[in-house]
Amino acid sequence: MSPVVRLLAHRLGMSLIVLVGVSMLIFAIARIIPGDPARIALGPNATAEQVENLRQALHLDQSIVVQYGHFVADLLRGDLGVSLYTNRPVIVDIAQFLPATLELVLAAGIMMIGIGLPLGIISARYRGRWPDNLVRLVSLLGVSAPSFVWAVILMLLFAFFLPIFPIAGRISDIYSIEAVTGFLLIDTLIAGNVAAFSDAAWHIVLPAFALAVSGIGQAARLTRANMVETYDKPYIEMARSYGFPDRRIANRFAFRPSLIPALTIIGLDFAAMLGNAFLVEAVFAWPGLSRYGVAVILRKDLNAIVGTVLIISATFLIMNIIVDLLIAFINPRIRHSQRPA
């Protein structure tokens, strides 16, 4: 078995165990929080009998172990239950809201890598000179303020005072796009509607950037720190002695070895944006899963809480596996290792 396949199998197995653990944990925690979900769902005017009927329907009258058994049995059939908040199957809710969040997080992730890494490279290459100082100042600003602060600042600056970008939402109301994948940027292209595509793209810029700012700062700082260390390695001195241009030394010889340690953290940051997204989604009225998650937690909507957390965890784990594979791809020591990863 090639080391990469072994790594993948190992990570998938681990992820499965983590998911089971997360499901148990969130299942228990959601039920420990005080408040009767049936009562909250039915409202203050419902009779005790109505509440009791709903409790039975939700198996809330049984022990938590039995409840978990029901949950797992349903889950294996692909059923996450019905949301008490929207009165729809949780799966349907997630299918509707997850793509919006993923689209936002992916756009932010692309910004984080596409802006953060080059900034870090420039910073390390011009170490101690003005481009370095500038990048360090900007990235420190990015890291130190949370993304919802950036969301508000960016919204005020570029949507209110300078109305360059739309103030909220995913797309203007004039377009009605048939949902195929749920990703508006893809669906508009499937529909062949270029105007709608650019409208959706225009909408995503500010929220994605607000979400990405701290990641950009973090990526730039990590890349710089690792590259500064790499610059002291003998192979960089050798590259200099062979007369390679500074640009090539930075972008090729120093960047790739430095990316390996940086990528792990960048990957975690990327996945953490899933959770951080909800404040940005709230500020920009972005109809995503994070916002849905907060709403269902406040309503103590058990099925929806467990479903949302599971999906977010699974996405997090998938991101981690992708990062691990990427690291294996750029680090020959892992790719050719005979030892288990």
Partner: protein
């Protein structure tokens, strides 16, 4: 007389620091004829490695370094060249071998890729397949019997001796006229170091490459070099043909250096004074003694 490959005249180097300026080299002069192997010998901190880096032009790029003196490479004064022209010499006309071969090769690229990069310094349009064929031939020249396996390997998959051979092959790939070897193979064990140095010796003789060989290892220098310069605290204290210098060391520092080599017959390491008044005596030039 043909033009010397390298002629260093009266080289001074100082570093500007927070506490003032520190002079590291106090007027070094040395020259290397075409195809000649010249050793620069001294203890650590004597200025051997900085001399090599000045020849390549690496130190001049540091803002804190001040370099004065003349550097003539194949008759051209390097200070008259533009920065770009100067840069172009590196990796093509001059190349360098470092102490630790394994950490001097980039860990995330295969040997083939790194070879290709080096070859492209001289032949920018060289394709991957051609590069591979040329590299395989050069690896055979350094007695690597399975060049294809080595080319597809990463440095961490090869032994130190193997990487050293790769380094030598790479350094000679573009047929440089000057090869600078900064304590080559010091990180390797003694037998492997001896093998690779013999290989290097034969190859540079075959190609007619001039070598500036920097070392603290007198045994190795005696085997490898035609002429020797002994450097102490940024000054050349003795120079001459290898045989003459080893046969009749004239300067007190050279004698101390030779006494410091442990002998296989026992007797322990000689008691070498850390610094002595005598070490500051004027330079001993064996060529001039011969004339006189």
């Amino acid at each position: 007389m043909s033009v010397a490959t390298l002629d260093i005249r009266d080289l001074y180097l100082s570093f500007k620091g927070y506490v003032g300026t520190v002079e590291v080299l106090h007027g070094i002069s040395l020259h290397i004829e075409r195809g000649e192997r010249v050793a620069l010998v001294g203890e650590s901190g004597s200025g051997k490695s900085v001399t090599a880096r000045i020849v390549l032009g690496l130190l001049q790029e540091l803002r804190s370094a001040r370099v004065t003196g003349e550097l003539l490479f194949e008759g051209t004064d390097l200070s008259t060249l533009s920065a770009a022209a100067r840069h172009d010499l590196r990796g093509t006309k001059m190349s360098m071998i470092f102490q630790d071969p394994t950490s001097s090769l980039n860990p995330v690229y295969t040997i083939a890729t790194q070879f290709h990069e080096v070859q492209k310094r001289a032949l920018p349009s060289l394709g991957a397949a051609e590069s591979r064929a040329m590299a395989a031939k050069m690896l055979r020249d350094v007695s690597i019997t399975e060049p294809d396996r080595v080319l597809d390997s990463y440095p961490f998959q090869l032994s130190g001796g193997m990487n050293q051979r790769v380094m030598i092959a790479m350094a000679l790939a573009n047929e440089p006229s000057l090869l600078i070897a900064d304590e080559p193979g010091t990180a390797l064990d003694v037998t492997v170091q001896a093998q690779t140095l013999t290989l290097m010796h034969d190859l540079v003789a075959e190609h007619g490459t001039s070598v500036l060989f920097i070392s603290h290892n007198l045994g190795v220098v005696r085997e490898f070099a035609d002429r020797v310069y002994v450097i102490y605290k940024g000054r050349i204290v003795e120079k001459g043909r290898t045989q003459s210098l080893f046969g009749n060391p004239g300067h007190p520092y050279t004698r101390a250096l030779m006494a410091a080599v442990p002998k296989i017959t026992g007797g322990g390491v000689a008691d070498v004074e850390e610094a002595s008044e005598a070490f500051a005596e004027p330079m001993v030039d064996h060529d001039r003694q011969a004339v006189a």
